[in-house]
């Protein structure tokens, strides 16, 4: 590219209004005279508009602030002072009558936020976009199937989902051919009602057929029920790897379907 043209960096800085005034004025002058750069600037602007049309800033800001607040609460709950207080509080219920009798004065430390006692039995937070917690568990195994993992034909899969506000849930599988399949609910008639709460297993299990190849699983939680036909249309409209253009919080796992374990080499193997 000719050095007289604006660089990608300059165009980007101009679009974000980060260029110093004199440089910005010079860049705008150049854009008026240079159709090539103007075309590139317009493409950048179009990409920005497209991005913001599917990534609403207000919703994004709310999600970020909520996540930060939740982390802060978790940090408080995990702090040594908070733990110490919880232990002290438990022991106080036993020790206070004895202490009073013995004339011992207790120093009470301030308590952290109510309702955030570390129990150790909650499922860990899984960082996914839009607060959807989403895991797959193969029956007979303990660990969740991680993104990038393998699902074998014939395996029985339990689906676990959690969401702080709850809503209407679809769990969608998208195979190599791009066509969607409803894993939850299996009948694909209407989304499941999902209550607000932590990660929990849905009822029933999915028994996988003999399909092989890459498969993307997406959990969609929406405030309003989304018809299956709209989910299908969104899957077809989205570019590979992009978030589905739906008003729904989403989490996904990219998996690989393989033939049954011990059932021979996968297709295509020598």
């Amino acid at each position: 590219m000719s050095p007289t043209h604006l660089s990608e960096h300059a165009l980007e800085q101009l679009s974000m209004e980060l260029l110093p005034a004199a440089e910005a004025a010079s860049a705008r002058d150049h854009l008026r005279e240079c159709p090539d750069c103007r075309t590139r600037a317009e493409a950048l602007g179009a990409d920005t508009s497209a991005f913001l049309s599917t990534h609403a800033p207000d919703r994004f800001a709310a999600r970020v602030l909520q996540q930060v607040e939740r982390r802060e609460e978790a940090r408080v709950a995990a702090s040594p002072w908070h733990r110490m207080w919880e232990r002290l509080r438990t022991s106080l219920s036993i020790a206070v009558p004895l202490a009073v009798a013995a004339g011992i004065a207790f120093v009470v430390v301030p308590r952290g936020p109510a309702g955030h006692v570390e129990t150790g039995d909650e499922l860990p937070y899984v960082g996914t976009k839009g607060d959807v917690l989403f895991e797959l568990h193969e029956e007979g195994t303990e660990a969740a199937v991680a993104s990038g993992g393998t699902l074998h034909a014939g395996a029985r899969i339990r689906i676990a989902v959690g969401h702080p506000r709850g809503g209407h849930l679809w769990v969608v599988g998208i195979g190599a051919d791009g066509s969607p399949f409803a894993y939850a609910p299996l009948d694909g008639k209407a989304p499941l009602a999902l209550g607000a709460g932590p990660l929990h297993l849905l009822e029933g299990a999915v028994e996988l057929d003999d399909a092989v190849g890459p498969e993307r699983w997406i959990a969609l939680v929406s405030a309003e029920p989304i018809p299956w036909e709209q989910v299908v249309a969104a899957v077809k409209a989205a570019k590979p790897g992009e978030r589905l253009p739906l008003e729904a919080d989403q989490a996904r796992l990219d998996l690989h379907r393989q033939a049954r374990e011990g059932g021979g080499a996968p297709p295509g193997s020598p």
Binding site: S7, E8, S15, V64, L65, V68, E242, R243, D254
Partner: protein, 176 residues
């Protein structure tokens, strides 16, 4: 407690989010994972305290976070790099030389011991093709600092490669 109002944060995202997404998509293959990275970068931005007064400093912080979070995801095996990113990291050989060299192994080797700023400079200059002046501007650093850190980046890569591959190591000069 947060110093950020939802409106302030939304405006920051409206202004910088699209550019950060483009940056992340040059490194990670999966666009939705870039969305997750950007959300995490903004969380850290909020957690660090008050909003910055200088928009350039805000963008520099967010950009550095996004680049490093993307690299961490690849190094941790959670995300796949784009082809250009993979080529960049292919300069570093895998330690065992058996089978196909994975970008993840290369990247882990590449990044070990490098600070976030140096990693970001390496990506902006060697992957995105920015000049040192441009990288300095977008990261809020002096041109001299960028030059020094870029040398450090290239020397680090060379040293790491020699450690694992004898004299068959990569060189920064091979990069675009």
């Amino acid at each position: 407690m947060s110093f950020f109002s939802p409106a302030t944060l939304a405006e920051t995202y409206r202004r910088f989010g699209p550019a950060l997404a483009r940056k992340g998509r040059r490194i990670l293959r999966d666009a939705s994972e870039v969305d997750d990275v950007i959300q995490e970068a903004f969380c850290r931005f909020v957690e660090r305290g008050e909003p910055m007064r200088d928009p350039q400093a805000t963008y520099a912080y967010l950009q550095r976070s996004v680049v490093n979070l993307c690299l961490d995801r690849i190094a941790g095996g959670r995300s796949q790099p784009t082809d250009p990113a993979s080529q960049l990291f292919a300069a570093v050989p895998a330690p065992d030389r058996t089978g196909e060299v994975e970008a993840r192994a290369r990247l882990s080797l590449l990044l070990a011991g490098l600070d976030e700023e140096t990693r970001a400079i390496g990506v902006l200059v060697l992957l995105e093709g920015q000049t040192q002046e441009e990288a300095a501007q977008s990261l809020g650093l002096s041109r001299r600092t960028v030059g020094t850190k870029l040398q450090k980046f290239e020397a680090h890569v060379r040293k790491r490669a020699e450690r694992f591959e004898g004299d068959a190591g990569p060189t920064g000069e091979e990069q675009p």
